[in-house]
Amino acid sequence: MRIKNFSASRTFAWVVMVLFVVVTVFPFWWMIRTALTPAADLYTDNASLLPHDPTFINFTRVLGLTTEAEARAAGGSGAHINFARYLLNSVIYCGLIAGFQTLFCAMAGYAFARLRFPGRDTVFAILIAALMVPPIFTLLPNFILVKDLGLINTMGGMVAPTILMTPFAVFFLRQFFLSLPRDVEEAAILDGNGPWGIFWRIALPMSRGPLITIGLTTIVWAWKDFLWPLLVGRGEENRLVTVALGVFRQQSPNTAPDWTGLMAASTLSVLPVLILLVFMGKRLVQSLNFTGSK
């Protein structure tokens, strides 16, 4: 039952709610506002809610579209930055991981749920035990492994530990495949389909919802990834947006950081997830109910 009548407490509750939303959203507004401000205005106009003399120069210079001299004049350090490239790298990184991981984990989940083979429960139990292994435990050895394989500074090295599987995705998709009705499968067998045919033509199309859920969550986590890509993909050509932001911040002098440039770059790092939220918001919100354990 909701609070139906207009009352003082209801008004107060709404005020608190609105305040919460304002505090949630304001930093983003301030980020965009700063990104649109000419660097020189930061010292004169640093508290007005609107940019004094709006400009796109900060965006063009972090996207590598201006000359070094122009960038320097607009408050940059002159260091080479190309966020267009980093954004593309991040999109490729997320796409590869989300696509392949979802497919491979769906295949495994299906095998665990629907196929009969000796040792099934033991293998599954061992896999699930890996949920208990925290990432820090495998981080250092995985780095050395990737280094020994000569994959430092390659996209392959960056996606290697996550592109094939995460135990959670296998667990989650198996749960779903367990609930698929059996008779559809039996009809498919009568039509002459083998296990692969059933999986590809029947099981996958029937599980679009869970597949999108796990894919979306994987995209979000991959977009936020920082430490692993920092260790493996530090070089310019495979640098992700998050790593580039970290590098940009460290290149920025301590005395007078390039705030307008940093905020323009930050805005670019938020834009893709914002688009995702606008188009897939409902699904993302729903996916929380499933993936709260992650």
Partner: protein, 293 residues
């Protein structure tokens, strides 16, 4: 089921499982064993590792910086989990009684979607001592300016506040989802008995939410113990070690000083803490499923 079907299944299963099994063995199983091995060697990434017994562990126990990093981490966890859970519970309760708006929920999710690195940068700018917006507000109220990220007493509470901002909406949505499971008739009969909102929250919502709340709490705890990204762009472990958390300690030992063996030992220490929390989480997961399904 026919014999041929079963044989088909067997062959297909290993094909279906191949990528996942390769991924598991190469990037989970093998590294886990390697991690334990490195922790008892003097590996620096340049030498051939040689066995040193428990040396790394005994050194770790005597290392003041290690204990400091652990202490700082716990301080962060307490601050962050405390504020985040209380706030999220309040917001979820308000939402539960006021609105089901999807737009509102999507907005609350926004800070969680953004990379921690971006969140760190955003707030470093907002909290800047000289030009930051927050200090501008404080100065106009005749308080401050405060060196939120440059003063060693303020640095950790500021980091905790930043991540509270980033994760409260997300946590609130998880709790809200739990509240939707509470049967409506309980509120209706309580209303007939003349119970007020606060009483309903304390006597109905909170007790029935306990399994979900416990789960969310443990999940956030596990996350908080692993704080790294935010610190890597805001304070870099400073000022005067005030924010050098254990993850940062391990990172520096491994990739700045190349004490791989030592870092591996510290990682095992952290892994033990996280392993216990994860075990609790998995138990709670089972319990909450059966309570709410």
């Amino acid at each position: 089921m026919s014999v041929t079907k079963r044989r088909d299944d067997r062959r297909a299963a290993w094909v279906f499982l191949a990528p996942v099994l390769v991924g598991f063995v190469v990037f989970y199983g093998y590294p886990a064993v390697r991690g334990v091995w490195y922790s008892v060697t003097d590996y620096t990434m340049l030498n051939t590792p040689s066995f040193v017994g428990a040396d790394n562990y005994t050194e770790l126990v005597k290392d003041g910086e290690f204990w400091h990093s652990l202490l700082v981490t716990v301080w962060y966890v307490v601050l962050n989990i405390g504020s985040q859970t209380i706030l999220a519970l309040g917001v979820a309760a308000l939402m539960h009684r006021l609105t089901r708006s999807t737009v509102l929920r999507a907005t609350m999710l926004l800070p969680w979607l953004v990379p921690n690195v971006t969140v760190g940068l955003l707030w470093t700018w907002l909290l800047d001592t000289n030009l930051g917006f927050v200090n501008h507000l404080l100065t106009s109220l005749d308080i401050g300016p405060i060196g939120f990220l440059t003063d060693d007493t303020w640095a950790m509470p500021s980091i905790a506040a930043i991540n509270t901002w980033a994760y409260t909406g997300y946590t609130a949505l998880l709790l809200y989802a739990g509240m939707l499971q509470v049967p409506q008739y309980l509120y209706e009969s309580a209303a007939i008995d003349g119970a007020n909102e606060w009483r309903m929250f304390r006597r109905i919502t909170l007790p029935l939410l306990r399994p979900v709340l416990a789960l969310v709490l443990v999940v956030s705890l596990i996350g908080s113990f692993q704080i790294f990204d935010t610190i890597a762009v805001t304070t870099f472990g400073g000022p005067v070690n005030a924010t050098r958390v254990i993850y940062y300690f391990i990172y520096e030992q491994a990739f700045r000083y190349f004490h791989m063996g030592y870092a591996a030992a510290a990682a095992i220490f952290l892994a033990l803490i996280l392993g216990v929390l994860t075990a609790i989480q998995m138990r709670l997961l089972r319990a909450s499923r059966s309570d709410l399904a």
